[in-house]
């Protein structure tokens, strides 16, 4: 793994700014990886062993994801919306998991660890660099029972909703009175009044314009035949 300063800089670039959450997140990720015995989580031989479950959608979460290299699309990043400044690091190979929790005390201790800095955020940034892990974090050894449908790898199951026809992957369907339903149909959704529409330039594609013209000519040629 790269050194802390390098990781912090790159993580802050990726996140958009350097903030106290970046410092905490980078350190949380470094500690989590160390605890589960992965020293190069983004290297090809370790990348598939790691799953990180992040419990907050805050600055810290971005830093944890950046340093560990976990990604939603690889199914190595899970978000559980607890609103808790914590993340669990799982080594799939050794089946060890540690939940690293950012302490509330650290906020109150920032003025003691960086008393020479008067502004709140710069002071937190510096203080969170100075605090030892023991002050910044609490750690729990945990067991995470992970369903095979949550693991990385190919889609293991596909079904269609009996009400709306939508394909549902990875066992996320709901069975009600023997009917297979997608979650929006079964439980209601985060959106409402869904109504299908048409929109301007519906036929746009990212292919080059030349290609478009070529396709057009070809079509004309074909119709002229």
């Amino acid at each position: 793994m790269q050194d802390f300063d390098t990781l912090l800089k790159k993580s802050a670039d990726a996140h958009g700014h350097l903030c106290p959450g970046q410092v905490v997140g980078v350190r949380m990720a470094m500690l989590g990886c160390r605890l589960i015995g992965l020293d190069e989580p983004t290297r090809i031989d370790q990348i598939k062993k790691l799953i990180v479950i992040i419990e907050m959608d805050r600055c810290t979460g971005d830093a944890v994801a950046f340093v560990t290299g976990v990604k939603l699309g690889r199914r190595s990043l899970k978000f559980i919306d607890y609103g808790i400044m914590a993340a669990t690091f799982i080594n799939l190979e050794t089946q060890t998991a540690f939940r690293v929790i950012s302490t509330e005390e650290a906020r109150d201790l920032a003025p003691v660890y960086a008393p020479e800095i008067p502004e709140k955020y710069p002071r937190q940034i510096e203080a969170y660099k100075r605090m030892p892990d023991s002050v910044l974090f609490r750690v729990q050894k945990v067991r995470v029972d992970m369903s095979e449908y949550d693991l990385p790898g190919p889609t293991r199951k596909k079904v269609s909703c009996s009400r709306c026809g939508q394909v549902v992957r990875d066992n996320r369907e709901v069975v009600q009175n023997d009917f297979i339903l997608c979650k929006p149909c079964a439980q209601g959704a985060y959106f409402r009044e869904a109504k299908e529409i048409i929109w301007p330039d519906m036929n746009w594609t990212p292919a080059q314009e030349e290609d478009q013209m070529f396709v057009g000519k070809a079509l004309r040629h074909e119709s002229g035949k």
């Binding site: 005390e105 020479e116 605090m131 023991s134 002050v135």
Partner: protein, 343 residues
């Protein structure tokens, strides 16, 4: 886990903790010690102490008793020059100075330690001069029984960087004194600075090698500094010439002598025009004129710290500000006052 039992059922059980008795003006201490087996004769006495129930402790594997916790914490808190005995009294263990010297408290680590609910540690002020055997801190667990994990985390916080509390012996410096000023040098007025500085240095266990006098001439001051260092002085004190007056050439002399670090100005009163400089490892201290008129000044705050091996720079002089205001009491009671206690 703690269970509560009625006093009448307590005969034959062992006390889970010391039971304190206070008879005002007569006695304060443990009437019964932890581990004592309660017998029939004790019931009356216990009742008089207001104990109608007793606690029975049934420790789970991940639990710890306050006495064991106190010992784990004391071990982690104690740094160099601090000793303690594993003899908790009412759950408390005292930490004592093992040597005469200056108390050093890692204030940030202490605060972090105390932020853990189950533990506490209270200390004397950072930078207090202490004698061997003096109580400098005490620690205890708050609950009678608790989980082991928070105690071990508290111990980890306390143990980093060699413990929270340590006592650094003062080195026996060999000091050179330079009294500057035309009037004194030419015998127009009698110097009163040298005896004052001399007394303070000797009180701190230093030896004063030589006192030299220099007029307001930067080159002569430079030579005086260099000659002290050549004679083996590992500490040089200069008086006078610390004000903003352009004729005050002491500072210039210090720079000419090759000081590679000069910090002028301290956040303490009296003593704002204080100066600390270094030539290699040798500290140079510029004492402003207030040192003549006040019994206690910034010099009394900084000199022991230098002798205890601390490097004094901009930050240390700035942090004196909180608590750095002397109240100018008619009768000076320093060090038993707030002066210098905030940093």
């Amino acid at each position: 886990m703690i269970k509560t039992i009625d006093l009448k059922d307590a005969v034959g059980t062992k006390l889970a903790h010391d039971i304190t008795e206070i008879r005002p003006g007569e006695f304060k201490g443990a009437a019964f010690h932890k581990g004592h087996t309660v017998c029939n004769e004790d019931l009356c006495h216990l009742q008089k102490l207001g104990k109608n129930h007793l606690y029975l402790i049934d420790l789970e594997a991940d639990e710890i008793h306050e006495n064991e916790a106190a010992a784990i914490m004391a071990k982690a808190l104690a740094g160099r020059g601090v000793v303690w005995k594993n003899e908790p009294r009412e759950g408390k263990i005292g930490l004592k100075a093992d040597t005469d010297g200056l108390l050093a408290v890692n204030v940030a680590a202490l605060a972090a330690f105390n932020m853990i609910d189950e533990v506490m540690c209270a200390t004397m002020h950072n930078h207090t001069r202490v004698k061997a055997g003096e109580l400098v801190a005490a620690t205890r667990a708050i609950p009678l029984v608790m989980k082991r994990a928070p105690i071990e985390r508290a111990a980890a916080i306390a143990a980093q960087n060699g413990g929270v509390i340590s006592v650094h012996p003062l080195r026996q410096g060999k000091a050179g004194l330079i009294i500057t000023g035309d009037e004194v040098c030419h015998g127009l007025i009698q110097d009163r600075f040298a005896p004052i500085l001399n007394r303070k240095l000797i009180d701190l266990g230093c030896e004063v090698d030589r006192v030299s006098f220099a007029p307001d001439d930067a080159e002569i001051i430079r030579r005086a500094i260099c000659s002290h260092i050549e004679r083996g002085c590992d500490l040089v004190l200069l008086s006078g010439g610390m004000s903003v007056d352009p004729d005050d050439v002491t500072r210039k002399g210090i720079r000419l002598a090759g000081a590679d670090e000069v910090h002028y100005g301290a956040a303490a009163l009296p003593g704002a025009m204080f100066l600390v400089a270094y030539i290699g490892q040798v500290p140079l201290i510029g004492v402003p004129a207030c040192g003549l008129h006040h019994r206690t000044t910034v010099l009394d705050l900084v000199l022991p710290r230098i002798l205890a091996g601390e490097k004094i720079g901009k930050k240390e002089l700035a942090f004196l500000g909180h608590g750095g205001l002397c109240q100018d009491c008619p009768e000076c009671t320093y060090p038993h006052c707030a002066f210098g206690k905030g940093s």
